[in-house]
């Protein structure tokens, strides 16, 4: 009943044009082994959903910089100038969403909600193309749920059932992203037997995780270096 899988097996679900959601924030908490695997496998035309575009050579940024994505639903791309360049050149379609609302849309996708009502960005460009409703005399935007064909996350530890714990601020968007994939693949720094994680400390219950891949560790230079 173990969910531990080879990288190759996990990558078999990530194919051209699939909707790929990724955990992480500013590169931190992006799953490096899976991302490198995607690059090596040569997957293209991905539709990416995640907090940001990383940095050109850090985390999810590498997939964007190497032009493997055709669309990106995100909150900002300022830390990855190549993403901006591709957007201007028409090679990358980018849909921007306020940061907390992106998080809520992902959570709504995972939690089977039809959407959320938000007052963030009323009267701004954020309204564009969105339905509005009046509730109790106040106007709200309907923000729709986001789901993915495959969600990839990075964890500090996983047990073989897929229960996950995270590492400090590398938790960031990973717990919500883990809930929103039709298939969820967790890359873990360490994989332990069932029963070794304290049930109180588990952040992502294994119910959300389909495959666990052993991480080869963080392989990039960090933003500050």
């Amino acid at each position: 009943m173990t969910k531990v899988a080879s990288l190759e097996k996990a990558l078999s679900f990530i194919t051209d044009e699939c909707v790929l959601m990724y955990g992480g924030f500013g590169g931190v908490g992006n799953p490096p082994t899976i991302i490198n695997g995607i690059l090596e496998k040569g997957v293209k035309d991905l539709i990416l959903i995640g907090n940001d575009a990383g940095f050109p050579e850090i985390g999810i940024g590498k997939i964007v910089s190497r032009e493997r994505a055709k669309k990106l639903i995100t909150t900002h791309i300022g830390s990855n100038p190549i993403a901006g360049k591709l957007m201007v050149e028409g090679k990358l379609e980018v849909e921007f969403c306020p940061q907390g609302i992106l998080a809520e849309r992902i959570r709504a996708g995972g939690a089977g909600l039809g959407g959320i009502l938000s007052d963030i960005g009323i009267g701004s460009v954020i309204e564009k193309g969105k339905q509005k409703v009046l509730v109790g005399g106040r106007e709200f935007l309907i923000e729709t749920p986001l789901q993915a064909d495959v969600a990839i996350v990075h964890a500090k530890k996983a047990d073989t059932y897929g229960n996950l714990i995270y590492d400090k601020s590398a938790r960031n968007t990973n717990p919500i992203v883990a809930t929103a994939g039709k298939i969820t693949i967790a890359e873990a720094e360490e994989i332990v037997e069932v029963g070794e994680l304290d049930p109180e400390s588990i952040i992502t219950p294994g119910i959300y995780v389909d495959f666990i891949v052993q991480s080869k560790g963080v392989d990039w230079k960090w933003a500050w270096e």
Binding site: F25, G26, G27, V28, G29, N51, D52, F55, T74, T75, H76, I77, G78, S79, G84, K85, M87, V88, V94, F96, C97, P98, Q99, G100, I101, A103, E104, I106, R107, D119, I120, G121, G123, S124, V125, I126, K156, Y166, D167, K168, S169, A170, R171, N172, T173, N174, P175, I176, I203, V218, W222, A223, W224
Partner: protein, 220 residues
């Protein structure tokens, strides 16, 4: 913004005075990120970060960085006793739920009604909106730190913003290299003038009427 390090630090030092003991504070990137350097030890503050930290401490010593402990800008931080980690949806739930006492943000333009433009310059690449809208709309107090004029010497404080807005009616206090101004229902109040400028310099460099009500004095 072309301001020297000294001036940037001066603005940050002034902003630090707005922070009181026990507050929950979110600092934006740029000058706002310098504010935490100027808090006196009697001011215990919980710094909040959008990626999911409450209770950030100082930057780590060189060589002591932890790749898994960074702020919302991706730069390494430390934590203080009482800190906690949570996911980003919770981090923004705190913001929208009204739990942030102060957010200190950079600005491109501010209007006399407190409208803030700080996310996009038409003709330049759009970097995205990030968490700025939520912070500007929902923090209890919004302080904007910026240069008083742009690089062409034109006012950035205006009757109406010309750039796309981040949020309307959100700014409470503007601190620049020239002055400190409060945004009120009846317009901008000039509270302090920075060295070496005069009230006249400030008025001339501001694109909206200023009511002058300096510390301890009252002009009108």
């Amino acid at each position: 913004m072309g301001m020297g390090v000294d001036i940037r630090n001066h603005i940050a030092r002034r902003a630090a005075k707005e922070i009181k003991d026990g507050m929950i504070v979110n600092l934006g990137i740029g000058i706002p990120s310098l504010v935490s350097n100027y808090l006196t030890p009697d001011i215990r503050v919980m710094f909040h970060s959008e990626n999911g930290i409450l209770g950030m401490g100082e930057s780590p010593e060189k060589g002591e960085e932890d790749a898994m402990l960074c702020n919302a800008g991706g730069f390494p931080v430390t934590i203080l006793p009482g800190a906690s980690y949570f996911d980003s949806s919770t981090a923004f739930g705190m913001i929208r739920g009204g739990h942030l006492d102060i957010t200190i943000l950079g600005g491109l333009e501010v209007s006399e009604k407190g409208d803030l433009a700080n996310w996009v310059i038409p003709g330049k690449r759009v970097p995205g909106i990030g968490g700025g809208m939520e912070l500007a709309e929902k923090a209890k107090k919004v302080i904007v730190l910026m240069s008083h004029v742009n690089k062409n010497g034109e006012p950035k404080i205006l009757k109406e913003c010309t750039l796309p807005l981040t949020a309307k009616n959100c700014v409470d206090l503007i601190i620049t290299d020239m002055a400190v101004m409060e945004v009120t229902e009846s317009g901008l109040i000039l509270k302090e003038v920075m060295e070496p400028y005069t009230v006249e310099d400030v008025v001339k460099s501001t694109g909206a009427p200023l009511t002058i009500r300096m510390e301890g004095n009252e002009f009108d």
